[in-house]
C-alpha cells in the first residue's frame, strides 16, 4: 500500500547549523503520530518541512504520490490538503471567527458563501464555539483561539492535520479543552502528526510515537514501545525528565 506521506533522507540546515540530519519515516492514512523530544531537537522543523513551510535542504517528501520538493509540483494545491495548527494560533486578527473559517474555502475551493458558512457553523458547534462566530480573535481565550484555529484548518477538509505544539502557549487550565478536540478528531479517523510535550496525550491517543533528538530519529514505534520499553539511553534520559 502506498503511504500517505513518505519522508526520505530529509535534511535541513539553517546556515551551518544542521537541524535535521537525514530522516526517513512514513505516515499512513489514519495514523496519529506524536513527535516527542527535547527542545532544539528539530521536532518543529521536521513538522514544518512536511508542508514545506521550511524548505528542506535535501531529501524527499512524497505526499499522496507527489514529491513536494519537486519544483513543478503545485504546492498550494497540496497544502490545501494538509491542515496546520500553530503554537501561537495565528488566527487572522482583522477578521471575525466566521471570516477566519470561510476565507480560505471561499477563496481557494470556490465554495459559495452560504455553503462555507454552514460547514463552518457545523464544525464550530462541534468545538462548542457557536456563540463566538461573530467575535474577533482578540476577544477569545487562548483555548478558544486554538479551537478556532483547528476548525479553520478543518474547513479546508484536509487529508492530514499537522499540529505544532498546539498546547504549549496555553494556560494550563485550557490545555484540556484543546486536547479533547484533538482526541475527538483522532477517533473520527483523521490522520494527524502532532509535535507535543503532552506525554499523556501521546500515550493515550497516538498509534505511533517518534523520539527525535539532535536531528535524527532515535527511536520510533508504538506508544508502548516508546514509553514502556525504551531502548536507548537518550530516550530513557528524556523520559525520566518529562514523566
Amino acid at each position: 500500500m502506498q503511504h500517505m506521506i513518505e519522508i526520505t533522507d530529509l535534511k535541513k540546515n539553517f546556515g551551518t547549523l544542521e537541524v535535521l540530519k537525514g530522516i526517513d519515516y512514513s505516515i499512513d492514512k489514519g495514523d496519529v503520530v506524536c513527535i516527542i523530544g527535547p527542545s532544539g531537537s528539530g521536532k518543529s522543523t521536521f513538522l514544518r518541512c512536511l508542508n514545506l513551510l521550511e524548505k528542506p535542504t535535501s531529501g524527499k517528501i512524497v505526499f499522496e504520490g507527489d514529491d513536494l520538493t519537486d519544483k513543478h509540483v503545485d504546492l498550494n494545491q497540496h497544502r490545501q490538503k494538509m491542515g496546520m495548527v500553530f503554537q501561537q494560533f495565528n488566527l487572522f486578527p482583522h477578521m471575525t471567527v466566521m471570516q477566519n473559517l470561510t476565507c480560505a474555502p471561499e477563496m481557494l475551493k470556490k465554495l459559495p458563501h452560504e455553503a462555507a458558512v454552514s460547514r463552518a457553523s457545523e464544525l464550530l458547534e462541534r468545538v462548542a464555539l457557536s456563540d463566538k462566530a461573530d467575535a474577533y480573535p482578540a476577544q477569545l481565550s487562548g483555548g478558544q483561539k486554538q479551537r478556532v484555529a483547528i476548525v479553520r484548518a478543518l474547513c479546508m477538509e484536509p487529508d492530514v492535520m499537522l499540529f505544532d505544539e498546539p498546547t504549549s502557549a496555553l494556560d494550563p487550565e485550557m490545555v484540556g479543552e484543546v486536547l479533547d478536540v484533538m482526541k475527538n478528531l483522532a477517533s473520527a479517523g483523521m490522520t494527524m502528526v502532532v509535535v507535543t510535550h503532552e506525554m499523556g496525550f501521546a500515550k493515550e491517543v497516538a498509534n505511533k510515537v517518534v523520539f527525535l533528538d539532535e536531528g535524527v530519529i532515535v527511536e520510533s514505534g508504538s506508544p508502548e514501545d516508546i514509553f514502556d520499553r525504551p531502548q536507548s539511553e537518550r530516550l530513557r534520559g528524556f523520559l525520566s525528565k518529562v514523566l
Partner: protein
C-alpha cells in the same frame, strides 16, 4: 496697533503682494501634492519589487537597483538633488515640474522604506497560517498581510506628507516661487522683514497643525478598527 495695521496694509494690500503670497501657497500645495503622488507610486513599486524578489529571480536585479536608489537618495540633501535636476539633468523643464519630480523621487525612497517596515511589522505567523491553508503568496498578501500592514503604513505616509510640505520650502533655489520664496520676495520688495516672514511661518504652522489633526483622527479610526484584534 494702528501703525502695525497700516504697515500690514502697505506691505501686502496696497502693493498687491498678497496675491504673490497666495500664489506661493498654491505652488507649495501643488509641489507637495504632486511629490506625494510620485513618492507613493515609486515607494509602492520598490516595496513590491523587494517583497517578491526572493520568490521571483527575475526581480532580483531590480531589487538591487531599488536598494541602490534608496541608499543614494537618503544620503543626499534634497536641496542638492533639486539643483542637480534643475541645472544638470532636466535643464529645459519648468521649475515646478523639476520640483515635483525631485521631491517625488526623494520622498519615494522614504516611502519604500516605510511601506517595507509596515509589512514587516505584521507577525510572521500570519503569512505562515495563510500559506498553510493553500493561499499563494499574492493571495495571502492581499487578503491577510496588507489589511494589517495598512494600519502601520497609512499614519507613516501621513507623517511623510507633513514633512514634505516643509521640505518643499527649498524650491526657491531653482526659481520656483513657493510660499517661502514669495514671503522672501515681499520682504525684498518692501523692506518689511518681520511681517512677510511671520506670515509664511504661521501659514506652514497652520497647514501642519491641520494635517496633524487629520492624521490623528485617521490613526484613531485605524486603532479603533484594530482594537478588537490584538492577537495575544
Amino acid at each position: 496697533m494702528e501703525a502695525w495695521l497700516s504697515k500690514l496694509y502697505d506691505t501686502f494690500i496696497a502693493t498687491g503682494h498678497y496675491k504673490m503670497m497666495l500664489d506661493g501657497l498654491k505652488t507649495t500645495l501643488i509641489l507637495t501634492a504632486g511629490a506625494l503622488v510620485i513618492g507613493v507610486i515609486i515607494g509602492v513599486i520598490i516595496a513590491v519589487i523587494k517583497y517578491f524578489a526572493d520568490d521571483v529571480p527575475f526581480l532580483k536585479p531590480f531589487a538591487v537597483i531599488g536598494d541602490f536608489y534608496v541608499t543614494v537618495i537618503r544620503g543626499i540633501p534634497v536641496v542638492v538633488l533639486l539643483m542637480l535636476f534643475f541645472y544638470v539633468f532636466l535643464v529645459s523643464a519648468h521649475g515646478i515640474v523639476v520640483g515635483i519630480i525631485t521631491f517625488g523621487i526623494n520622498s519615494g525612497a522614504y516611502m519604500a522604506e516605510l511601506i517595507r517596515s509596515g509589512i514587516n511589522a505584521v507577525d510572521k505567523g500570519q503569512m505562515e497560517a495563510a500559506r498553510s491553508l493553500g493561499m499563494s503568496k499574492i493571495q495571502a498578501t492581499r487578503k491577510i498581510i496588507l489589511p494589517q500592514a495598512i494600519r502601520y503604513i497609512l499614519p507613516a505616509i501621513a507623517s511623510e506628507f507633513i514633512a514634505l510640505i516643509k521640505e518643499t520650502s527649498v524650491a526657491g533655489y531653482v526659481a520656483v516661487v513657493d510660499l517661502t520664496r514669495a514671503g522672501n520676495l515681499v520682504r525684498n520688495n518692501t523692506y518689511d522683514a518681520i511681517n512677510p516672514l511671520m506670515i509664511v511661518a504661521l501659514t506652514y504652522l497652520i497647514l501642519v497643525i491641520t494635517l496633524t489633526q487629520l492624521m490623528n483622527a485617521l490613526e484613531r479610526r485605524l486603532k479603533k478598527n484594530a482594537a478588537h484584534d490584538r492577537n495575544h
